[in-house]
Amino acid sequence: MQASAHAIPHPGVHEAHHEDLGFWRQYVFSTDHKIIGIQYGVTALFFLFFGFCLMLMMRWQIAHPGQAVPLVGPLLASIFGDDAAKGAVSPNLYNSFGAMHGTIMVFMAIVPLAFAAFGNFVVPLQIGAPDMAFPRVNMASYQAYVIGGLIMFVSFFIPGGAAQAGWTSYSPLATSIPGEGQTFWLVGMVCLITSSLLGAVNFIATIIQLRAPGMTWMRLPFFCWAQFVTAFLLLLAFPPLEAAGIMQLMDKVAHTSFFLPTGLAVGGALANVSGGGSPLLWQHLFWFLGHPEVYVLILPAMGIVGEVIANNTRKPLWGYKSLVYAALTIGFLSFIVWAHHMYLTGMGTRVATFFQTTTMIISIPSVIILTCMFLSLWGASIRFNTPMLFVMAFLPMFGIGGLTGLPLGFNYSDLHLHDTYYVIAHFHYIVAPGTIFALFAGIYYWFPKMTGRMMSEFWGRVHFWGSFIFMNLIFQPMFAQGMAGMLRRMADGGANYSQAKTQGMIGGLSDKIMGLHTYILWAAVGLALSQIPFIINLFASIKHGKKVTSDNPWQATTLEWQTPTPPPHGNFDKAPEVHRGPYEYSVPGHSSDFTPQNEPDPVQVPTPVK
């Protein structure tokens, strides 16, 4: 079965595997990995948009503290009452937005999109499987995610508002803030963690068990390897946070003192707790997840980048095996670097030295991956379509994000940079123009397989250039602000520490540094406007996009393109058999410049089909 031989539509394929399930079971309570992948994708994109809107309001508040937010001010005032008096974001509300922006973006937008959405849709197709190993567990995983997301969303509207202690929820602050926002956050997190665990079990079991005949480990597309490692990170790193969440919930609800020290004073009075707990313990448990989580965010993105690069350079990925081993090394090392987030906690210099060393070591496999990707471009005749543009931007942007992380990994320089805007700029360079760009590339790349239609190339380019320019305008100034000493998480954007307010004191933030807030605000607005073409393009192309003329419009080698479009329930017309590695592009002496994985070697006499 060669992909190019297939023309859509495929009469007869549907009848074989498809009984009529009705709307609810086909689209809402579906057990089909492709539908679940799309459900994840749409929900996660919604949360991505929502988290971005929170950020826009925060940027306005930082640039214009205490002034009403334009357009949505009255709405804020009517929803949040005193916390948004006259439509301005109060410090309380700012803290809520900040905490929820982080939580939503990490746990409800990027991870579900990168891991669950793309993983669900693409991995079974790429390994030649009819579905995930446990379709009903898969459905339960999505439902747990939705429930967790709803709990988080609802928490904005309860008295006292959503959680305010940052996405890291450090104790004792998190449990001392009045209101039930933190309780909602914790219960929501338990649901989201459950969802991730179910997903991780499913992915690993699928990749181990359901690889098609001939799909050996070293013939697995790099994307699958990336998802495989990611699933292990989720599987083993999330439970400690779940344990920590349960304990913080106990602190909040049952008044235990897991993370509350003896002699804790809240609001000037001794807190009525037994004490004896350890605030540091929360940080250890949180970052034990928190750091592998960083690689959960980036590895699937690297997987997408690998697929898109190989496809558009029409060359095999450079150093496929190095990529695989580097990803595995990252997975292992990411479990022993967590305390580099905690240099300032006073945990001791020896501990800090250990984690500083492992942190420097983990940069090596990351650099290997990036280098392999760059070298893959060498000498290629590159097709510059929208996915490739996003990927080409990913490479240097991720490079900036990675390199600016080194000063944070060193104990000494981190003392100055810790908790400043430099940190924000650093990890946003990894996640925003890094991971999110790769995710955009993935959407443009796999959209034809999902829908049978292409997304508009022109509006894709508008989306790309707008996002590329404004992303950099937003995050580049933050490096300067951070190095000047501007701390993060301040509702007034550091106005109280500006030279204007602290005249005669050394170290105040200069007008130039404070003035950058305004530039960043308008760059953020620009970024918002650049997403409009994407949103319209995404939804309009489902109905009005250009129809694909073959099942394999990008002329790719991997198995997901050797299915009917869109793939029916059960995916493949005929069980695929794999004969070669994932990236056999431009093989000398071959008639086409790509050889699909399931194409038998010409020397073998193929058994007659039919």
């Binding site: 009819p130 567990v137 068990q209 599987l235 304990m247 235990t256 069980a575």
Partner: protein, 265 residues
């Protein structure tokens, strides 16, 4: 195309899908309980000298519960082996035992919980501490003052530390002590909020008990309505019993660690 290896093992891994799944799930469970055990170690190491409790739990009762769980693991294996030998009746018998043993475990555990919730430490205005089980409680708390009176069965101590090492302590004669509300400075029962030991005790055993209940529900389903599958797809049903059994053994194993850590050390 149907999903392969749902019943038969895949040749190169030697495992059917659900078995891979359950081992992965158990790996994540190890991390979950591992984090809580680490917390136990950290809290214990960080506790001030003499303020980590010893001998607060009843060892004979704990031993009894350990025996109950180990027995249930044996009956679980027997149930699975019976299916392998095609003896459905024996399977029914053994798994009925498993479920009853699980319920026994939860029953004994709730008795222990109840004992802790009825156990009070009452700091009195004269500096003494009355410690014992509540017999009659007519205390009321209003305007940060206690009124009314209560009757406990216990004893007085001068220093709080005497309450912490019950292993080394001489046996105090326990008698009925009337308590006047006006004398009370602070009243606290031995719930999770009492100190970090009770906090980790209730969290660990509570989470474990939830696992026991969850496992019992699954095994109960497979024993009852779920066992219809034996007639239609015996091999798959046997696999299900094996998978739920693996989970059950894990729950048992967690208790094997919990018992010495919380009761004996």
């Amino acid at each position: 195309m149907d999903i392969p290896y749902t019943v038969q093992p895949r040749p190169d891994t030697g495992l059917y899908n659900a078995k891979v799944g359950i081992w992965l799930f158990l790996a994540s469970e190890v991390m979950l309980f591992g984090a809580l055990f680490s917390t136990y170690i950290l809290l214990r190491v960080g506790a001030p000298e003499g303020l980590w409790p010893h001998g607060w739990l009843n060892v004979p009762i704990g031993t009894c519960n350990t025996v109950v769980l180990i027995t249930s693991s044996i009956t679980t294996v027997m149930a699975w082996a019976s299916l392998k030998m095609n003896q459905f009746g024996r399977f029914k018998f053994f798994h009925a035992c498993t479920i009853l043993l699980a319920l026994t475990f939860v029953g004994i555990k709730s008795y222990e919980y109840r004992d802790k919730f009825m156990h009070y430490e009452i700091s009195l205005a004269d500096g003494r501490i009355a410690d014992g089980h509540m017999i009659k409680n007519e205390l009321k708390f209003a305007d940060s003052k206690w009124t009314g009176h209560a009757l406990i069965k216990g004893h007085f101590v001068e220093d709080r530390k005497e309450l912490y090492d019950l292993k080394a302590a001489k046996s105090h004669p326990h008698e009925e002590i009337p308590i006047e509300g006006a004398q009370i400075k602070k009243l606290d029962n031995y719930g999770p909020w009492h100190n970090t030991y009770t906090a980790i005790y209730f969290t660990l055993t509570g989470l474990h008990a939830l696992h026991v209940i969850g496992g019992a529900l699954v095994i109960g389903f497979l024993w009852g309505p779920g066992s219809k599958m034996w007639k239609t797809d015996p091999e798959r049903f046997t696999n299900r019993i094996e998978i739920s059994g693996l989970f059950w053994h894990f729950v048992d194993l967690v208790w094997i660690f919990l018992f010495p850590v919380l009761y004996l050390l």
